[in-house]
């Protein structure tokens, strides 16, 4: 007589299956493919595969002039495109030695913080959606729409703004902008509380988010994780404070941190960051100086040979440009340091041993954006 256990070991063993999550999947937020090895519902290993929207932005820079390239940077992280414009302009300005008027710096901070709010709003909605709560998405998109309308008023664009120029910004605030923004900030102040009611105080949400995807500061540093993900692990590093650029020292805001390092901590950090950004916007509008918004920059700008690596604190972490100039009108090499690339590289570690459902939650809590990774 045969023994089921010894003669047919594979009959009793639960079989590992390979699951392709994506590239077309509702919760990979774009064309990202996760190759999951599953034992039942437990993840044995995960391997991200991406590059589906690779557009060769770094190669493109080598055939475009510095001025022409600014609008391309909008396409890197389309949700916080101002940050990309900013770091590119900062890098080019550092190479060319261009001064930026004080008012332009204020406007840059203003737009960047509005952009951070809208980017975090999209993330918040998508995070709820990943956990099966559809309703927060419609609320956050309603608010994001208000921010986009402000940008529409400011530069005629809703997502790819092309608002920055070398040496400043393209135009001053339109007359009604200040009032509308103040109204929005006043309206926005109580919103995180509403989101708290919808998500943060919901017991199901809490048990789904707590104690999953634990990211220790050591792992975070090893994988160069930055931004809210790093601050969710209790490391108070924010370029706006640690290496202040532009006029950030003028404003009063907190670097939000959370000690736990799990998905919930990253969630809390982002919700609180929206509040802080709203505070900064209010302060910018109050203390807006008079003057030029753009310094004189020659139309055909030849940048002296040299190199610069400049970083800003984007919504997702440290976003930087490494520019090498050979003295012509085009950069010889343009390297884009994007936060999501490093942030995603930590995912295989975080999802080892969790359930499929948690993969979605952890991926959502990392807030990656695919065009930025693929470039």
């Amino acid at each position: 007589m045969r023994n089921l256990e010894t003669d047919y070991p594979e009959a009793l063993k639960t079989e590992e299956i390979t699951l392709n999550m994506g590239p077309q999947h509702p919760s990979t937020h774009g064309a990202l493919r996760l190759i999951l090895r599953l034992d039942g519902e437990r993840v044995v290993s995960a391997r991200p595969d991406f590059g589906y929207v690779h557009r060769g932005l770094e190669k493109m820079a080598e055939s475009l002039s510095y001025v022409q390239y600014i609008h391309i940077t909008d396409r890197i992280d389309y949700l916080s495109s101002i940050m990309n414009e900013w770091s590119f302009c900062l890098a080019a300005e550092a190479l060319a030695g261009i001064e930026v008027p004080r008012k332009a710096e204020y406007l840059r901070v203003l737009t960047a913080e509005l952009c951070r709010i809208s980017s975090h709003l999209v993330w918040l909605g998508a995070m709820g959606m990943d956990l099966g709560a559809f309703t927060p998405l419609t609320y956050t998109f309603r608010e994001r729409e208000m921010v986009l309308e402000l940008f529409d008023l400011l530069c005629g664009q809703r997502m790819t703004f092309n608002y920055f120029r070398l040496g400043g910004v393209v135009r001053d605030l339109p007359p009604e902008f200040t009032k509308q923004t103040q109204a929005f900030i006043k309206y926005f102040e109580r919103l995180p509380d509403i989101y708290d009611q919808l998500l943060s105080d919901n017991p199901i949400f809490l048990i789904r988010m707590r104690d999953i995807g634990h990211l220790s500061p050591a792992t975070a540093h090893s994988h160069a994780v930055t931004g809210p993900n790093l601050r969710g692990s209790g490391v108070a590093q924010d370029l706006r404070r640690c290496e202040p650029y532009s006029v950030y020292p003028d404003f009063d805001f907190q670097v939000v941190t959370c000690q736990e390092g799990d998905a919930l901590a990253r969630y809390r950090v982002r919700v609180e960051e929206m509040r802080q950004s709203a505070r900064i916007v209010a302060q910018v509008l109050e203390g807006l100086p008079e003057g030029e918004v753009r310094s004189k920059v020659p139309r055909v700008l030849k940048i002296p040979p040299g190199e610069a690596y400049v970083r800003v604190e984007s919504s997702r972490g440290i976003q930087g440009f490494y520019l090498v100039s050979d003295g012509s009108v085009k950069p010889a090499r343009c390297r884009i340091r994007v936060p999501s690339f490093a942030n995603l590289s930590v995912l295989p570690q975080l999802v080892k041993g969790v359930k499929v459902a948690d993969v979605v939650a952890i991926l959502g809590s990392l807030d990656i954006i695919i065009p930025e990774i693929d470039r």
Partner: protein
């Protein structure tokens, strides 16, 4: 007339599903055969006005046994082609058992005189419950011990050797 047609239809269905159950190489098909057979037998019981038994049969066989079986099939082996390992070693023993069972059942049917109108009076469930708790309490408890043993065995197999 209608009941007779119904009876033969259900009986054919039960036999057909039973043949599928024992002959199919595909585990899932076999289990679906079991489900259909159980439903057909439940239908026969309804014809005999044993409604409670019919419903319990559906509830337990279709709702629990088959579902668990399908669940197990899906968890183990290659789900695309869950095929039974061929085993013909127990031909004689199995055949013998089947034959003995056949003889037994046929004997019982032959010995026991069937009432011409084989529709028994409906048994109230209260009575059934009372009988289970009084006269037949020992077999009832024995069956539950058997189930407990099966449960423990399942846990032992499921936990595996590593822990």
């Amino acid at each position: 007339m209608a009941t007779i047609i119904g009876f033969y239809l259900l009986a054919l269905l039960a036999i057909g599903a039973g043949i599928l159950l024992v002959s199919s190489r595909n585990l899932l098909h076999a289990l679906l055969g079991l489900a259909v057979a159980s439903l057909a037998v439940a239908g026969l019981m309804l014809g005999l006005r044993a409604e409670f038994l019919a419903l319990v049969l559906v509830l337990i066989y279709v709702g629990a046994v088959v579902v668990l079986g399908v669940f197990a099939v899906m968890l183990t082996g290659h789900f695309e082609k869950a095929v039974l390992p061929p085993s013909n070693e127990l031909k004689i023993l199995g055949g013998g058992t089947a034959l003995a069972l056949l003889v037994l059942i046929t004997g019982v049917i032959l010995i026991q005189p069937l009432a011409p109108d084989a529709v028994p009076a409906q048994v109230p469930i209260q009575k059934l419950g009372a009988l289970l708790m009084t006269d037949y309490v020992l077999p009832f408890e024995l069956v539950s011990v058997l189930l407990l043993a099966a449960l423990v065995g399942a846990i032992v197999i499921a936990r595996g050797k590593e822990d």
